[in-house]
């Protein structure tokens, strides 16, 4: 799996959200995208996920241009920063629905297996409106993995969760990251722990792209100050 970003630019009116970004992500593992509010993380992830159009530049995922949205949607799973599901659907119905939207047909047992991976197997009959924020996050992960994408893009998946839940969510991603490319974003440096590669964004520019957490944190804090 190779993601190639070449001279990516995104403008919102006169504001440059992404400024000529070029980078490569190669192979499976956990890739951390670190940046403070307004750094361009969400814009970058949304462009990769096909829900926001780029202004200019090129993106290729395994050689396929981002313009080929149908093919790209097959390859990526996007977990937005803020999301929920239809409140009156059950956990099982929700997963089943998104499996169908992703062109997959699962047997009942297979749906339970997916729920078990995110530790929601006992809540399959629960309605969405009764779930906690963390449970919804875990269901969100189940929803995006149900189509078996090669790349998972998760925008601040641990934001607003307590320490225990953060660990639980991250462990799920680490498990997925063994054979898939997982891109996680965070605005807190500590949330980058365990990432194989860290990319630090600042005002739409890449200011660090490497494997050393301490260096990434230093760059991040320098700019934050």
């Amino acid at each position: 799996m190779k993601i190639e970003v070449i001279k990516l630019v995104k403008n919102y009116g006169g504001i440059k959200a992404l400024d000529d970004i070029s980078l490569s992500i190669i192979g499976s593992g956990i890739y951390g995208l670190l940046g403070s509010e307004g750094a361009g993380k969400t814009t970058f992830m949304r462009i990769l996920s096909t829900v926001t159009a780029k202004t200019s530049g090129e993106i290729y995922i395994d050689g396929i241009s981002i313009e080929n949205k149908k093919a790209i949607r097959k390859m990526i799973g996007y977990l937005p920063r803020e999301f929920s599901f239809y409140p009156d659907f059950t956990v099982y119905e929700t997963l089943d629905y998104f499996a169908v939207l992703s062109g997959k047909k699962f047997l009942r047992g297979e749906i339970y297996d997916i729920l078990e991976r995110v530790n929601l197997q006992d809540l399959y009959k629960e309605k969405i409106k009764t779930l906690s924020k963390s449970m919804k996050k875990r269901l969100g992960i189940a929803v995006i993995t149900v189509k078996d994408p090669q790349v998972i893009i998760a925008d601040e998946p641990t934001a607003g969760l307590d320490k225990e839940e953060k660990v639980r969510i991250k462990n799920i991603f680490f498990e997925i990251g063994k054979d898939k490319t997982v891109i996680l974003s965070a605005s807190v440096a500590e949330d980058m722990e365990g990432c194989n590669t860290i990319i630090v964004l600042n005002r739409g520019n890449v200011i660090y792209n490497g494997m050393v957490l301490e260096d990434a944190c230093m760059k991040f804090r320098e700019k934050e100050v």
Partner: protein, 373 residues
């Protein structure tokens, strides 16, 4: 995939409050307007056996009929029943003269005597009390039941000409086709506005529940997603009208059984499909397009309300999306309007399909260039 989106949308709609609004409003229109008309003028004329001059004359001149007129008419009716041994009974949407037995005749005699004895001094309350006991003794649902006092006098012209008109409707329309046009008129007015409450929030809900980005990034095609929802929304509304059409057919089946006149069982369903379905499709398509343009569910309701006001008057212009035909006439009299109605329905069906494809395109555009965060 299409089937699943369709079934999930159905499920979601049936769990929502908007479906209750649509069912209640559709049946309110059905009962108050359509059934109301049937019970005001009835279907098959009956021969008058009493002196109804006062009532008929007043009705013709548009004067109010007062309690004394009612008392006089009902009293005359009792005398006629007593003499003939038959009373008028209301069964559903039918009025039938039914034989009464001797003890029932005796009750009538006593009531006639009581009214005659009291003569001018009888109050309306006393009159009502007497009538209630007469109605009960005759088995209920007679013209002595308060709600049916004037049912015997529900005539629009002389019996012979009314019968001639009815026989024409029977011959040309097998009764129900003529009434199905009135049904489609009233139901069209109802669903022509209330359907928008079902369809105005279809995509807004995805955003409100923050589920839209999961859908945008799934593999579902825009046509399948919008189409699945559209089909579900249209069929829900259509199904509700079909329920009313089914009820109307049943009422006329009972009418046919009692009167022995053949009816067309498909008439209400036919006019529902030909006149009302295009209306439902148009309201749904337009509200899809407007909610996707304005990203708001209230604007489609406002737009629909303005169009509804414009379309509900009776001139049946080409550009009005509701068919108005508030008349019960035989096919030969309807025929002159048939072509223009047919063209109107074709036009609005095609326009609805066009708007549907515009909605697919707009949803597809939103999917790839969605600025909401």
């Amino acid at each position: 995939m299409f089937g699943k989106i369709f079934s999930k949308e159905l499920k979601q709609q049936f769990r929502s409050f908007t479906i209750v609004i649509l069912i209640v409003s559709a049946f309110l229109f059905y009962y108050t307007q359509f059934i109301g008309d049937l019970k005001q003028w009835w279907i098959k004329p009956i021969p008058l056996r009493t002196d109804t001059e006062v009532i008929l004359e007043k009705r013709e001149k548009g004067f109010a009929i007062d309690n004394k007129d009612v008392e006089k008419a009902v009293y005359e009716s009792m005398k006629a029943d007593y003499e003939s041994g038959y009373t008028l009974r209301i069964r559903g949407i039918s009025r039938i003269y039914e034989k009464i037995n001797n003890s029932q005749k005796q009750v009538l005699k006593e009531a006639i005597d009581e009214i005659e004895n009291k003569s001018l001094s009888i109050s309306y309350n006393e009159f009502e009390k007497i009538m209630k006991s007469v109605d009960n003794a005759l088995g209920g649902n007679t013209s002595y039941s308060e709600k049916y006092y004037l049912s015997i006098f529900a005539v629009q012209g002389p019996y012979e000409s009314e019968m001639k008109r009815y026989n024409k409707i029977l011959k040309e329309d097998r009764v129900t086709n003529a009434y199905a046009r009135l049904f489609a008129d009233y139901m069209g007015v109802g669903v022509g506005f209330f359907v928008v409450f079902i369809t105005a929030f279809t995509f807004i809900k995805d955003r409100r529940y923050s589920v839209n980005e999961f859908i945008y990034t799934s593999q579902v095609s825009s046509f399948e997603y919008v189409g699945g929802k559209y089909l579900a929304d249209v069929l829900i509304s259509f199904f509700i009208v079909l329920l009313a059409a089914g009820h109307a057919t049943f009422m006329f089946y009972e009418f046919s059984k009692l009167n022995g006149d053949p009816i067309s069982y498909g008439a209400f369903f036919k006019y529902t499909a030909l006149w009302i379905l295009p209306t439902i499709m148009f309201v749904s398509s337009l509200s899809y397009v407007s909610q996707l343009i304005f990203d708001n569910g209230i604007i489609p309701i406002i737009i629909q309300f303005i169009l509804w006001i414009y379309s509900i008057n009776m001139d049946n212009k080409f550009n009005k999306y509701i068919i108005r035909f508030n008349r019960i006439v035989p096919y030969s009299e309807f025929k002159t309007f048939e072509n223009s109605i047919f063209i109107n329905r074709i036009f609005f069906t095609l326009l609805s399909i066009l708007l549907f494809f515009i909605a697919v395109k707009l949803w597809d555009k939103k999917r790839v260039d969605n600025f909401s965060r």
